[in-house]
Subunit: 226 residues, 2 copies
DNA sequence: AAATATTTTTAGATCAGCCCAAAATTTTAA
DNA sequence: TTAAAATTTTGGGCTGATCTAAAAATATTT
């Protein structure tokens, strides 16, 4: 069984390699985990020893099959707990991440599968991120950034690129919750800000910064193996 | 903020001093936490340094006010999570202890109070043990061991002295779940075994060992400060 | 291609937790 | 009231996780 710290490293390496599409650098991991490069090198040796990662000195690190399975389970746990906290305990979507960071490390035989069932087998977490199923399969969606939508096109708010409480609270204030249907009315070339209309008829102006951190879905997704 | 290990020590010291009614010995703590006396002495120094306990070399250890508050919150968390696991995730009452041992260490502002509300502010956990409220107040009940009941007297199964999965599963098999009303029919002097009648009309024979590990309630309890 | 800057690793320490073996203290028995 | 037994503490050492400072390797400029 792995320590919480080891699990956090695996999750971080997974996240970085997924996003970057190449081996994770020592510095990137250190930045993500708020620690030093020296500590990271130390841990990479240990994880490599346990065949949880593929690591070559100075060349960065990738997930092994074993590590990938564990990291996927961690993401599953994290997101299911987030659903629980929002749906059942009525936390706001900007309050649940830190608690889920702790809860994801709880180990137990059928715990997560029971939680999954209790929550009704949700496919997405409160931030619109997909929840891998018990076999580690992901639900993929065709979603694009609002900043990539063309005037006249419609979309449904389906996720966020930035997960910071500040951004999430701002979206709350704007009334731009998940599943809101929107139409892009106009994009102003001067600053790339946009004007949208929501399904309840309100017109909103959004900065380029907001538009570049909000995902909209164009059509429904399908299940596929990762 | 305390480490999980420190929290476990506080809970153990609390449990032992409550049961024994006197300072907890190094050996008792070591036995409870499945560690060595040397490790315990080590930790007692650290906890004493943080004024979480009153510790005098060779004289045993007692809770300080600060430690007592923390230990009480830990018991509250442990038991509320047990209720969640049984009531919501449908675990059996003999399966939840180890998970609750982990969950009780999750820290978060309003987490436990929200969980408490979500569960309907339960006063007792799945094993009949009282759950302290947010202010650390306990619900006390007049419950006695079944082995102390006299022939002809009635009682309601309200708790267990032994929490082992083996005993709990055996009670399941006997159909002696919490809140079952029973009448003591006869006690056999030869081995102190008893014959009881349950509220659904069944007659059961119970060994002295079972009777000495099962609590029955005689009347409803009142709230008081500890 | 050489010089410079950046990234990564190593060396050496610290700290919390844990252990064993030996010494000190307290308790029990003779 | 001594001697023996049991308990507790101390001393020394180990591991996992962390850090700083210095060395090594890689990447970027000139
Ligand atoms: Mn999160
Ligand atoms: Mn999320
Ligand atoms: Mn328990
Ligand atoms: Mn319990």
């Amino acid at each position: 069984m792995l320590s919480q710290v080891e699990e956090n490293y695996l999750k971080s390496i997974f996240k970085i390699t997924e996003k970057e599409g190449k081996p994770a650098s020592t510095n990137a991991i250190a930045g993500d985990l708020q620690t030093t490069a020296a500590s990271v090198t130390d841990m990479l040796k240990r994880l490599s020893e346990k065949t949880l990662i593929h690591y070559e000195k100075y060349k960065g690190v990738q997930m092994s099959d074993k590590g990938l399975t564990i990291a996927t389970q961690l993401v599953r746990r994290h997101r299911l707990w987030e659903v629980f906290l929002v749906e059942k305990l009525e936390f706001a979507w900007d309050e649940v991440h830190d608690l889920a960071e702790q809860l994801e490390h709880i180990h137990g035989n059928s715990l997560i599968d029971r939680l999954d069932a209790f929550l009704g087998n949700p496919r997405f977490d409160p931030h619109g991120d997909p929840i891998p199923d018990a076999q580690g399969r992901w639900t993929r969606r065709k979603q694009i950034l609002l900043s990539a939508l063309e005037p006249g096109e419609k979309g449904i708010v389906s996720g966020v690129e930035n997960h910071s409480p500040e951004f999430l609270q701002y979206l709350d204030q704007l009334g731009l919750v998940l599943h809101t249907q929107i139409t892009l009315r106009e994009r102003f070339p001067y600053d790339q800000s946009v004007r949208i209309r929501t399904d309840d008829g309100r017109e909103l102006s959004l900065s380029e910064k907001v538009a570049a951190n909000l995902y909209v879905e164009e059509q429904s997704g399908t299940k596929e193996r990762r």
